[in-house]
Every structure is written in C-alpha cells, then in structure tokens.
C-alpha cells in the first residue's frame, strides 16, 4: 500500500510538489507566504497550514538563485525554554533560536553568516566572530542560567538585530529573509504568545518579514498586536458548499492512495463523497479515514462515520485538557452542549417526524453576543479541533438580536443521524446558512457551566498562581472606573475572588444603575482574567 502522509512533518521537501493540490484559496495563501508581508495563517488542526508553509519555503529555496529570498523555517519542537516563567528569558530564547535557524538556512544556501569551526584551514577563523554570532551568544547567555539576573542593557536591542540582518541582505545581495513560525504560538502559554506576537510585529524591516501559523480559538495576540495593521490575516477554511470542494478533496486523495484503493473509490464515488463531506475540508481527517477504509459500502461508511466522528475526533478535543490545564470543565461542557443540545435541535430542524428531510436543512447555530464568557470560551476550544467553526460575528438573529454564527462539523453532525449515507446527499443539497438554531443571552443550558467551579486542578503551582489572580484587586479588571468604583465602594467587593463569588442577581440588587447587561459585563471581566491564565 502507498504511504499516506497526513502529517506534514513526515514529508520530504522534494515530495511536496508531487502531492500538493491547489485551488484558488491555496494559491492565494502560498503567494502571500512568499510575499514580504507579515502574515498570520489561521486554521484548525490538520487543515494544511504546515503543508502550505513548507511548500512556500520549498519554492523559495528552489528559486533562491533568481529571487534571492531566504526562507527560515522554525518549529520550536525541542525547546528548553517553553516552560520558563521568565518572559524576559523566553523572549531572548526565541530570538536566539530564530537566529540559529537563520544561520542553518543560510548554510544550506552557501551564505556564511557565521564562522566555521575550520577543520581543514590552518588559520584561526574563530577570532573574527561575526556580528550575528555575537548577538546569538549574548542572547543565549541571557537564558542559559535561569535565576541569574542579566543586565538587559548589555544585550543588543532588536533594532541592532534588524540592522545586522539588513546588512547581511545587502552584503549578500539578498532581497529578503522570511521567517516561517510553524505552530509556534500553539505550544506557548498566553503570556508567551503575547511576547511572541509582539516580537513578530517588531521583527520587521524592508528585508525581514515573518509568517506564523496559528490555531483558531487558542491564540492570544496581546493588546499591542493589532491584526489588521500589523499583519495580513489569512484563514485556511474550506467550505463544503463550495462548487469545487469535492473535486479538490478527491484530487488530494488521488495523489496519495494506491491504485487498488483508487479503483474502489471511483467505483463508489457517491458513497465516498459522504466521507469527503464529513471531513469538512480537513485533509488530515480525510486521509486518515480513507486509510482505514477496507471496502466502500453504505454500512462501511456508516460505521466509519459513527466510529470516527462520534468517538475518535473527540479524543483530540479531550486531549486539550491535558495540554491546557484547567480546561476540563469547559471541554466537557462543550461536548455535552453540542451532543445533547445543538445537534438534537439541528436534527429536529432538518427532519420531519416521519423521517423525511425538510425543505431547508442546517448545521449552523447562533450564540448571543452577550452570553457568559465561559460559554464563549468553551466554544472557542471547540474551534481548535475543528468540531465547530466560527463563521461570522454580528449576525442578526430573532428580534434583530446580534450574535455569532457557528457551523457544526458535518461529520460530527451526520454521526448522530440515522442512516448517514442514505440521508447525506439530500441534507447537503438543502443546507441554508441562514437557517440556524439560536441560543440567547441567558439560555438555560448555560447554567450547567456557570454554576460549576471551573478550577479543578490539583497542580500546586497552578493553584498558587490562580490564587494570586483571585486575590488581585478589582481595580485590575478591564472595566470602566465607574464600574470598578461601584463594585469596590458600593458593593464592598475587593478582590476578583469576591466578584466571582457574587451572583449577577446580587450585583443587580446591590448596585444602582446596574442591570442585566452591566452585571454580566462585570462578571465576564472577572472570569476573563482567570480564563486567560488557565488557557495556558
């Protein structure tokens, strides 16, 4: 059987051109990656962000002699400093690491930004250390001994580094150095992510630009980073209703499966199309599920849908709980909300009582913009694995209320439907994006989550950190002075913990001019402070 790649890390660079499939979306993203813009590429796990980044790098490398753009690909996989709580050291580590990768990439192109250890030359070359070597050494020294205080003034500033890179470009007739940070933000904590994006924004010159691949829902850009001004933002989302969707996904599979499987797919195209729709535009999921198919028949595809989209796809979502400590309650609620509320409601929306399909179908739902922050956080986590997809904000619901529209992963939805393969074609054909279930500001289902203590961690350090946050004064919250004054002086609440332990109704009762909306805002601010910490 042919080897199917569903992780970009496993693909040799020279194989990339053989397996890539490009629609307009991919072409646009590749061109942006090859341009000198700072770029954020957002997509759920497995949508192909790394693949497109690697491909853009590969092309730049291949065309280096003519285009003179040096790509530097950085993954931060084996990283000592990931766990440091010293943000100063973390920033320095990132800089040193990026510059080391730059040297590696330059070596591959025969550009010397660093001295060789000289094995054949009799002369001592190491005495003439280059400016880049000096910079890297200074930064590495600054983080190699955690705990020791480093004199920040002794370190070269970011401007000095950019100047050094600009000099390198001018001396070597290079038109640009492009840094590709793959999944960088994902493995960092929120505070580190903010550091990363600040660096990402500032690491910029006519010669230097950066690109970063991020997941939706779990990336903190920080206050100083303004997406629109500081970078080009591209989303890698494939809409299952796009006219070219089926042919694009089919072509991608054709490039990787062996002849036997291909024949099987071609003989059962209609059935296989159900599997393609279920993958919701995610190549990794489609390739994984295709690899597991021994035969293609209605029962085989139905079994696949039930096994994969009812169980396996959730496993990754549950793993988030291990990765991001403190998320378990949010993660469990998110799954329950989707499986017990959203999907049953969509099934009712789509099917008549006699089991026939209605004239319009839906896999969409809408959440009021002022819903509790814990709810939005739980949904945010569901977007990470692609179980739901945020389509747009500012969507009008019933009574002209405003909210956010989401799409349920089609496979996850179909796995809860009777006879998935028999019904799929009609369900897809009748999908209407304006047909959605609505969940208002205070939907009863929210109380399950709001009433729960979201901190279940027994990690001592985490608990200590959380207690620190809870003990912080209300004056630290992102609220207006008037609101803070009301909480502290009129309600007698001093700490974030006090506010969390006071119900919205109590706030309304105690405070004049505070109604449903303001009490929610106040509570949300307290939770926001906490959630932001435990998100990492």
């Amino acid at each position: 059987m042919a080897e199917i790649y569903y992780r970009t890390e496993n693909i040799r660079p020279d194989e990339l051109p053989n397996i890539i499939v490009k629609s307009q979306l991919e072409n646009e993203i590749i061109e942006s990656l090859k341009s000198n813009a700072n770029l954020i590429l957002e997509g759920s796990r497995g949508t192909g962000k790394s693949f497109l980044m690697k491909y853009a790098c590969y092309q730049l490398e291949q065309n280096f002699e003519t285009e003179k753009i040096l790509p530097v690909y950085i993954t931060f996989m084996a990283s000592t400093l990931i766990h440091t709580t010293d943000t100063f050291q973390f920033r320095n580590w990132m800089i040193a690491r990026s510059l080391r990768e730059l040297i590696k990439s330059s070596l591959k192109r025969g550009l010397v930004f660093s001295n060789y250890a000289s094995t054949l030359l009799n002369t001592e070359t190491n005495s003439e250390t280059s400016s880049l070597d000096n910079i890297i050494k200074a930064y590495e020294d600054s983080y190699k001994n955690p705990g020791t205080v480093i004199d920040a003034t002794s370190l070269p500033e970011l401007n000095d580094i950019i100047d050094a890179l600009n000099d390198i470009c001018e001396q070597n007739q290079i038109k640009g150095i492009y840094f590709f940070f793959d999944e960088a933000a994902h493995i960092f904590r929120p505070e580190q992510q903010r550091q990363f994006f600040t660096l990402f924004r500032d690491f910029r010159s006519p010669y230097v630009s950066s690109k970063a691949a991020v997941y939706p829902g779990v990336t903190h850009f920080g206050d100083t980073f303004e997406g629109i001004h500081d970078s080009v933002f591209k989303k890698l989302d494939r809409n299952i209703l796009d006219p070219g969707y089926l042919s694009f996904m089919t072509e991608m599979v054709e490039k990787q499966v062996d002849q036997g499987k291909l024949t099987m797919i071609n003989q059962n195209k209609e059935l296989y199309n159900t599997a393609i729709f279920c993958s919701n535009g995610n190549p990794r999921i489609l390739l994984k599920t295709t690899q597991g198919l021994q035969r293609i028949s209605s029962s085989e595809i139905d079994t696949l849908i039930r096994n994969f989209y009812r169980n396996e796809i959730w496993a990754e979502h549950t793993l988030l709980g291990d990765k991001f400590k403190g998320h378990k309650v949010l993660i469990d609620w998110g799954r329950k909300f989707l499986e017990d509320t959203v999907i049953p409601s969509l099934i009712k929306k789509n099917f008549n009582e006699d089991g026939t399909i209605r004239t319009e179908t839906s896999i969409y739902f809408w959440i009021h913009k002022d819903s509790p922050i814990q709810i939005r956080e739980a949904l945010r986590l569901l977007t990470y694995t692609g179980i739901i997809r945020k389509i747009d904000d500012g969507v009008k619901g019933t009574r002209s209320l405003i909210g956010t529209r989401y799409e349920v992963n089609y496979g996850v939805f179909l796995s809860q439907v009777n006879n998935p393969t028999r019904n799929s074609r009609e369900l897809i054909a009748k999908l209407q994006i304006n047909n959605f279930s609505e969940y208002g500001q205070n939907h009863a289902i929210y109380s399950d989550l709001i009433d729960k203590n979201i901190i279940l961690e027994n990690d001592e350090m985490l608990v200590a950190s959380i207690n620190n946050i809870l003990d912080k004064s209300i004056s630290n919250l992102d609220l207006s002075d008037w609101q803070k004054n009301k909480l502290i002086n009129d309600a007698g609440l001093l700490t974030i913990n006090d506010l969390i332990n006071t119900s919205e109704q109590d706030l309304i009762n105690k405070l004049e001019q505070v109604g449903v909306k303001r009490s929610r805002q106040m509570k949300n601010a307290a939770y926001a402070e906490l959630l932001e910490y435990i998100s990492g």
Partner: protein
C-alpha cells in the same frame, strides 16, 4: 619539461577550470559544508572520548572530498567520501568497543567495513538498535541497506571499475554526470550519518543538546516517526 614543470602545468590546468567548476558545484559545496558544519555540531555534544578522533577524521575527509570535487578530481572525491563514511561508522562502532579501538590505534586492527556495517553487530544492527533506540527497529535495516549500497557505489571509484574512468577526452574536466552523482551521494551520506548518530546518541542527549541538533536532524530525518516523536515529546 622537467617532472616539476609537468606537475605545475597540471596545476595550471586545474586552476583554469576551478572557477567554472565552483559555479557548477554550487549545490555540492553548499550541501557539503552544511553537512560538515552539522557533523561538527554533533561532535560538540557527543561526550568526550578518545574514539572521537575518528569522527574528526570523518569531517576532515568529507571536506577533502569536497575540495577534490571542485578540482574535478572525481576519483579522489569519491574515495575521500568513502573514507569519511568509514571513519564515521568506525567512530560510532568504537564508541561501544574500547578494546577494538585501542587495537586500531596500535595498528593491530583494521577498520573493516563489513564489521562496522554488519546487520548483527554493526552500527545499524538490531543489536545497536535494541541498546540505544529500540523504536527505530523498523527502520535500521532500511538504513543498513542504504549505507551498504552507497558504500558499494563509492567503492567503484576506489577500485577503478570501468565506468568510473573518463575515457572520451581529457582526464581533467568538468563532468556533469560526476557532479550529479557526487551530490546525490553526499545527500545520501548526510541522511545516513544523521540516522546513525541519532540511533546511537539521540536518546542520551539532554534537552539543550536536543535543541542544538533538532534543525540538523529535521532537515534529513523528518519522515522517521520515532525520531520526530522523541524530539516532540521531549518538550
């Protein structure tokens, strides 16, 4: 013409083609020096021991092969590359065989390719794999075969097999066929060398050392799942 004048003439001829050879060998030079620098990084993090002299020799021989290549001395280039390979495999082999190493230093033992790349006891053997990186057990045989084939290709130049002679015209000239083959051999050796070093040392490395070799390893072995796993899970 004296013997010395004759040699000088040859040197002139070589120097004459050196510049255009540099241009044609751009990829070879970049890959080769990158390879050399990568081996130097490995050398820095492998614990100090007498047998490491063989790894140093390997780097030296690698660079000599590149310089021979740019002088269009193709046979020397391939021979040096083979020697580099022997030294690298020998060094790793001696890392677990002190007695053999001491005998080698006293010239009472030869470095025998069939011993150091033996499927039962060599550096790519199941035995090495079991001892140093068990998860590579499905891969070591593939690299054993690759190493064997590369060594055989390089040996053809050492033994002077018929097709390795340039017979159509002058002996010293730029030969595209040789450049392509040398570059291919170099890349293959780079990958094999990285695999051998990963198999023997990767699991023994500290976090900071892993970070040092990660870009080197990922460059050639990103498709080897256990290695990728080890680098990823170590964070």
């Amino acid at each position: 013409m004296t013997a010395e004048e004759y040699i000088k003439k040859i040197n002139e001829q070589i120097q004459g083609i050196f510049d255009s050879s540099l241009d044609q060998n751009k990829d070879v030079i970049n890959n080769g020096i990158d390879f050399s620098k990568s081996l130097q990084t490995w050398l820095e993090i492998i614990p100090e021991d007498n047998y490491k002299i063989l790894l140093t020799n390997s780097i030296q021989s690698l660079e000599l092969s590149i310089i021979s290549q740019t002088y269009c001395l193709y046979r020397n280039a391939f021979s040096s590359l083979r020697l580099s390979m022997e030294m690298l495999f020998g060094g790793v082999f001696f890392s677990t065989a002190t007695l053999d190493f001491i005998e080698w230093t006293k010239s009472s033992r030869d470095l025998n390719w069939s011993t150091i790349n033996d499927l039962n006891n060599g550096v790519l053997s199941h035995r090495f794999c079991n001892a140093f990186f068990l998860e590579l057990k499905d891969k070591n045989e593939e690299y054993y075969t690759k190493a064997k084939e590369l060594y055989r290709d390089l040996s053809e130049y050492v033994h002077g097999n018929h097709h390795t002679w340039i017979t159509e015209s002058e002996a010293l000239k730029i030969e595209e066929k040789e450049i392509i083959l040398f570059n291919k051999s170099l890349k293959s050796f780079f990958e094999i060398a990285n695999f051998v070093l990963c198999l023997r040392y990767l699991k023994t490395l500290k976090q900071s050392q892993l970070e040092q070799v990660e870009p080197i390893v990922m460059q050639t072995l990103n498709h080897v799942e256990p290695i990728l796993q080890h680098l990823t899970s170590s964070k």
